[in-house]
Amino acid sequence: MSTANQSTVIQPDGATAEEFVLSSEERAEIEHEMSHYEDPRAAAIEALKIVQKHRGWVSDGAIYAIAAVLGITPVDLEGVATFYSLIYRRPVGRHVIKVCDSLTCMLMGYESVLDAIKRQLNIDYGQTTQDGRFTLLPTCCLGNCDKGPSIMVDGNTHSHLDAEKMVQLLEQYK
């Protein structure tokens, strides 16, 4: 690691995988978050989210670079990054679809909504469409149970869904 916000990942075979440099914008946002806490590492999750917001996902190189800013070890931060379901450690599509599979959405018939998405996009949970447009993931309850079945696409919650509505809904996301 050369400087605090620049890092090189050493692969097991000794090859260097990627040069990763936090942008000045990312670094400023992370430092702003750190100012809210007595212990800067409390900004760890927010820092991961900041990088993910700019780049879509959190690469190995990003883990090293963020850990250096927070003053914790990369392995410590990796433990945090892999714990939380909204942090993506692999590339995802431009839009992430999260399907609520908790009890009330099941009672309201989410399975037909899920089947419609899978058919339309030809992907299963954990997969990304070939054109890089959508990634499909399950999620626990979205807290929208009186309007289920519900799914979330990026930051938007969609309510009262059924299989027929899915085609049109996904068309909104290019």
Binding site: G79, I87, S102, C141
Partner: protein, 427 residues
């Protein structure tokens, strides 16, 4: 909701018909921040704690622990160790729960006012609102309200000339149900994996960064300004003699009811009134088979229990818990094993993996239920599930996640045993 007034519907009377949030001007015009203005320069923190205790406010996150008693468990303020924290648990993730979302999206200043007053009562210097990552609209509206409250002088240094400082920060999470467990929430807020901590010490004594910390639910905190403005006696009569518990409660119904929703009603309103009068009863073609009083970590109850008042003690007497107070109606279409399999899949996926009974016991439970669902259960499976409900009960695990997962299972075994037996493979 009909003719909501500040007198009868303290939490929701200010909500607007178009679901938008009241801005600070509108909130102030409707008595908003009146409690802060009245209390800060006139009332000693200890007297606020006494008043909240006298009002009988019980924690609305599901546990029902008296809020004033929780506050009292904090050590006395020590000027040599002045750092103390107030955390708002807004990690609303219990399946079938959507009450705190409404309060944050549509009445953000009410929560901020409640947090200011609670922080003053416990003499906290900093507060954090721990909000689940998926509540994007709530985050947007809360942040906007926080900025406005700070500009108006309700947050920051020397609030309203009282000499007391309080900083309040919005902290958004990144998924995982376990973050709602109060010690796991503290670990998550510190930027760590959300594993629960051993107790004692309790957070009141050693919480965030090892300092005295109070964690309260959104709905609990939203009650505080109203109690301080109108008094303990007023708060107690809100339940209209329907319950020994005080106040109103956000009750809801979800599942195959005609009008699923959320209503502020007197504590102790019966489940039947909530389902039949407010939610319009079950949809045509769907019969009520069982119901969960408040989230998937509460024991099933039957249609014959519908006349029970919805409060902590009455539902407790039936062997269940009121939990979050949002009723899930389970209809006759999916078998109870399918319903349970869905619930236990949720808990198995959300287990943090910290302690063995939970990490291994829950996937095993899911596997067994999947076999029963497909008619491939083995002799002894039902007894094994019964044993699991004991092995994952309180005292055997670090936190309440696994014991919560066992509540629907143990009650289903009690009420619907025949369906388990049907799942055993015929030899």
């Amino acid at each position: 909701m009909t003719v909501a007034s500040a007198d009868t519907h303290p939490l929701t009377w200010r909500l607007r018909a178009d679901d938008s949030a009241s801005d600070i001007k509108l909130y102030e015009a409707n008595d908003g921040y009146a409690a802060v203005r009245q209390i800060l320069n006139n009332t000693a923190p200890a007297d606020i704690v006494k008043l909240i205790k006298a009002a009988g406010l019980r924690g609305r996150g599901g546990g029902g622990f008296p809020a004033g008693v929780k506050w009292e468990l904090m050590p006395a303020f020590d000027p040599n160790a002045p750092k103390r924290y107030l955390l708002c648990n807004a990690d609303e993730m219990e399946p079938s729960t959507y009450k705190d979302r409404l309060l944050m999206e549509q009445a953000p200043h009410q929560l901020i006012e409640g947090m200011i007053l609670a922080a003053y009562a416990i003499q906290a210097c900093n507060g954090y609102l721990f909000l689940r990552g998926e509540y994007v609209l709530a985050a947007e509206r809360m942040q906007k309200a926080l900025t406005a409250a700070k500009e108006a002088g309700y947050l920051g240094k020397n609030i309203l000339g009282s000499g007391w400082d309080f900083e309040l920060v919005l902290h958004t999470g990144a998924g995982r149900y376990i973050c709602g467990e109060e010690t796991a929430l503290i670990n998550s807020l510190e930027g760590r994996r959300a594993n629960p901590r051993a107790r004692p010490p309790f957070p009141q004594v050693a919480g965030l960064w090892g300092r005295p910390t109070i964690v309260n639910n959104v709905e609990t905190l939203c009650n505080v300004p109203h109690i301080l403005l109108r008094g303990a006696d007023w708060y107690k009569q809100l339940s209209q003699g329907k319950s020994t518990d005080a106040g109103t409660k956000l009750f809801g119904v979800c599942g195959r009811a005609n009008k699923p929703g959320l209503w502020e009603l007197p504590m102790g309103t019966t489940a039947r009134e909530i389902l039949e009068q407010h939610a319009g009863g079950m949809q045509d073609g769907y019969e009520l088979k069982a119901w969960l009083p408040g989230g998937v970590s509460t024991d099933f109850l039957l249609p014959e229990h519908l006349d029970t008042p919805m409060d902590f003690d009455s539902i407790g007497k039936l062997g269940s818990r009121m939990g979050t107070g949002i009723i899930t109606v389970v209809d006759q279409k999916p078998g109870i094993i399918t319903v349970l399999r869905n619930i236990e899949e949720f808990f198995a996926r959300e287990s943090c993996g910290w302690c063995t009974p939970c990490r291994d016991g829950l996937p095993w439970t899911v596997k067994t239920l999947q076999a029963l669902e497909q008619g491939k259960g083995q002799p002894g499976d039902i007894e094994m599930l019964e044993r699991t409900t004991k092995l994952l009960s309180p005292g055997y695990t670090f936190c309440a996640l696994a014991p919560g997962a066992m509540e629907p299972l143990q009650s289903a075994l009690k009420y619907f045993r025949a369906e388990f037996e049907q799942g055993i493979a015929k030899t």
